[in-house]
Symmetry: C2
């Protein structure tokens, strides 16, 4: 079972930053990030994961700032810069950063992740996104967000170029032999000369081949095009599904797309996003969850709900029934519709509805004693809903510490999770092979 730690400084619950056991001053706080990385490594986690965006949303709702998703928060580090620093204080845990293909350049992205892979000795991962926040366009001289199909077409070329650039040099291209004066072997370089619709990139990359061959590629799109891109390109998918049935469907769907790209089911790992509140007992977990919910004043809860469903919810009585909203109005993502459907089905009030979604930014929510949480995780894993989990554990960092103290040993007892790191790279952690160089056979001889 793969375990990934959501490493954004604040976790998944809107109120968590206010909890007494949450750390103080989470905005751009390096000491916190170092502590979280060390906790995750002590827990033998596969990797740290940083979501990211390039803009601040909800400037008109300041109390929501701590509540917004990591990709539109105001006080964050640029993720590759942060992970490079964290590479120096960790040894085994993978370091995965999100970067957009919509407002960046493939040469630059290939370089940064190659650098991170060299610096971390093979622990870098790139979460390829096409940018969820349309407002980010305004920070990159665009009036509006590029349409989704264009973004994905661009992303496809982008990923192809990045992989091609990582293969610019054979693994043994740099003899750096003082005696003969031969710094590099000119037969072991391949200029890409990519000419596509969106990009023309000559290459070669100005970095040796990364230790992992290619840093691990994550992707997270939910649309048809998004899933095809994952099947064609990604090593890991970050999936968000609220029920085991939907997760199983997505799992089968994604794995089923692999053969047409000549890939085995094992070559794509699916990580399910989940918020986990684990405690000594079920009651304690309930208690903590209630404490967190209580830290969110109704005005903030309503703002949050309004944002999620795309409708101004303060227009409705707080303790009245959730209104039968016209589905056309509930925002662009599927999340809004799912919230409305659930509120109506379970006959929730407006207040109950916002409280129900407070902990679920990561899409799914496991809560209970160590055994209860481990049971859920085991079931999702064994019943092919996922290959592992992307865990957000409120409160940061104590929620992750609690998970590691209580649940990880339980998973280890059941033989589901490692007790020691075995390899040295992120690919080793994940059980992914090191890719061959597209242009050179393993021994370094030209492949074509």
């Amino acid at each position: 079972m793969i375990l990934a730690a959501n490493a954004n400084a604040q976790g998944s619950h809107v109120g968590e930053w206010r909890h007494p056991t949450a750390w103080d001053k989470p905005a751009s706080n390096l000491e916190n990030a170092i502590r979280l990385a060390r906790i995750a490594e002590a827990g033998r986690f596969d990797l740290l994961f940083l979501a990211d965006g390039n803009g601040v949303r909800n400037l008109d709702k300041p109390d929501l700032f701590a509540a917004t998703s990591p990709s539109d928060r105001p006080g964050v580090f640029e993720p590759v810069t942060l992970l490079s620093a964290l590479a120096m204080v960790t040894e085994h845990v993978g370091l995965v950063a999100t970067t957009t293909t919509t407002y960046d350049e493939p040469f630059s992205v290939a370089r940064r992740f190659a650098s991170l892979d060299h610096i971390s000795k093979g622990r870098a991962g790139w979460n390829l996104v096409t940018t969820s926040n349309p407002g980010d366009a305004l920070n990159f001289s665009h009036e509006e967000h590029v349409p989704r199909d264009d973004r994905y077409e661009r992303a496809g070329e982008f990923a192809q170029i990045v992989k091609g650039l990582w293969d610019s040099w054979a693994d043994d291209a740099f003899p750096q032999d003082k005696a003969s004066g031969r710094f590099l072997d000119p037969s072991k370089v391949h200029a890409l000369n990519f000419r596509g619709k969106h990009f023309q990139v000559a290459g070669p990359l100005n970095a040796p081949r990364p230790p992992q061959g290619h840093p691990v590629i994550f992707s997270a799109g939910q649309s048809e095009t998004g899933k095809e891109l994952s099947a064609a390109t990604a090593d890991c998918v970050f999936a968000i599904e609220g029920t085991i049935e939907r997760a199983q469907t997505l799992y089968a769907d994604l794995k089923g797309r692999l053969p047409k790209y000549g890939r085995s089911a094992d070559s794509l790992k699916i990580l399910s996003g989940v918020t986990i509140i684990a405690a000594e007992t079920e009651e304690e977990a309930e208690q903590l969850a209630r404490e967190l919910d209580d830290l969110v004043p109704p005005a903030v809860g309503l703002d949050y709900l309004s944002k999620m469903v795309g409708v101004k919810m303060s227009a409705y009585p707080l303790d009245g029934p959730f209104p039968a909203l016209d589905f056309e109005h509930v925002g662009p993502t599927g999340i809004g519709k799912a919230i409305v459907a659930k509120a109506l089905e379970q006959k929730l009030t407006v207040r109950e509805t916002y409280r129900a979604i407070l902990p679920q930014m990561a899409g799914n929510f496991f809560k209970g004693s160590a055994a209860q949480v481990a049971d859920l995780m085991e079931r999702w894993f064994l019943e092919k809903a996922c290959d592992g989990f992307m865990i957000a554990a409120p409160v940061v960092p104590t929620g992750l510490e609690r998970f590691i103290k209580l649940v990880v040993p339980e998973l280890q007892r059941r033989g589901l999770f490692r007790t020691e790191y075995s390899g040295r790279t992120l690919r080793d952690n994940l059980g992914l092979a090191r890719p061959e160089n597209r242009f050179f056979a393993q021994a370094g001889r030209a492949a074509e």
Copy 2:
């Protein structure tokens, strides 16, 4: 006197990487970079400086790879990624990375350097370049390099935006107060809404104001537009002049441009690039210089000379007189013309000419005993040729170690250089004030 260490893995002499006291395997070698950073900090240097480019030149001349300038080498780290890692193993030394304004986005650059400044607790610097290597265009979907005037116009807007984004938040914009639930103070954010010819950037930046207010800005253009950009925008200039007279002229020129931007002469520091070979005695320094020159085979020396003057020099007899080249043919930079002029004036042979330029990639060359080198440095400094030096010390890292062991104590004895760090930031090292926030008075109240 300011001392900066050129921190590119290989230094300034074409042959140095082959020397027995040079480190092995310099391409993308993290351990070497860590060692160099620690050496510079032990020597109380102000900063480490990384030149950079986005492309590999001279693919057809493999033996020149180790000889090319740091901005077109094949085995390098992306500089911000590297410096972020080095921030974790150093405490005082400044960390300056080169990034181009021609093939990057101001929002992204503002973010990366804000991150580096937060991670390093105020030691970040940005060397703004407009890209020297025209071939880099081919890695960014451009058929050719943007013309110089356009590049500089773009660079001017770029720098204005980056500074504006760094001022997005008052220094005290993030109370993060658990008790009141107030994460940020909405009166302390300023969205830039920049609309220029090249860029439109809304802001705010998704990072708190950097510890230094603004990371230190370096720039290095030599043209009229380049110098104006430095006078308007930069905190430091990296200058390359071969004689004290020319350096004095440039120094007076640059400082003279400051009043019209309302700046004092002290607010712009000028660092002169110099290659230094220091040894116990003059003879030892000469001996080391000869050893380095001898490591360059004539074919490589000729290739190097050809590259610098823009003419194929293997067409001329190696030990014949340097030919009276037509000045129209000698390449785009001023360096080529200067080399030809010197060769003709001093009646050098072709071989003597290439040997004369081998150590001088950094523009100027001081060689000798500790006292001799310190004399030269003192003279340049006191006679207003520079405020300090950007030092390339072949062989890496032993050349820098030798400089620190021999020359630094001599400079300290003369009262020219610090014996201990006094402040905590790069601005403190350089004696530069922390800039006020353009949009908020120091106390955090709106300035306008």
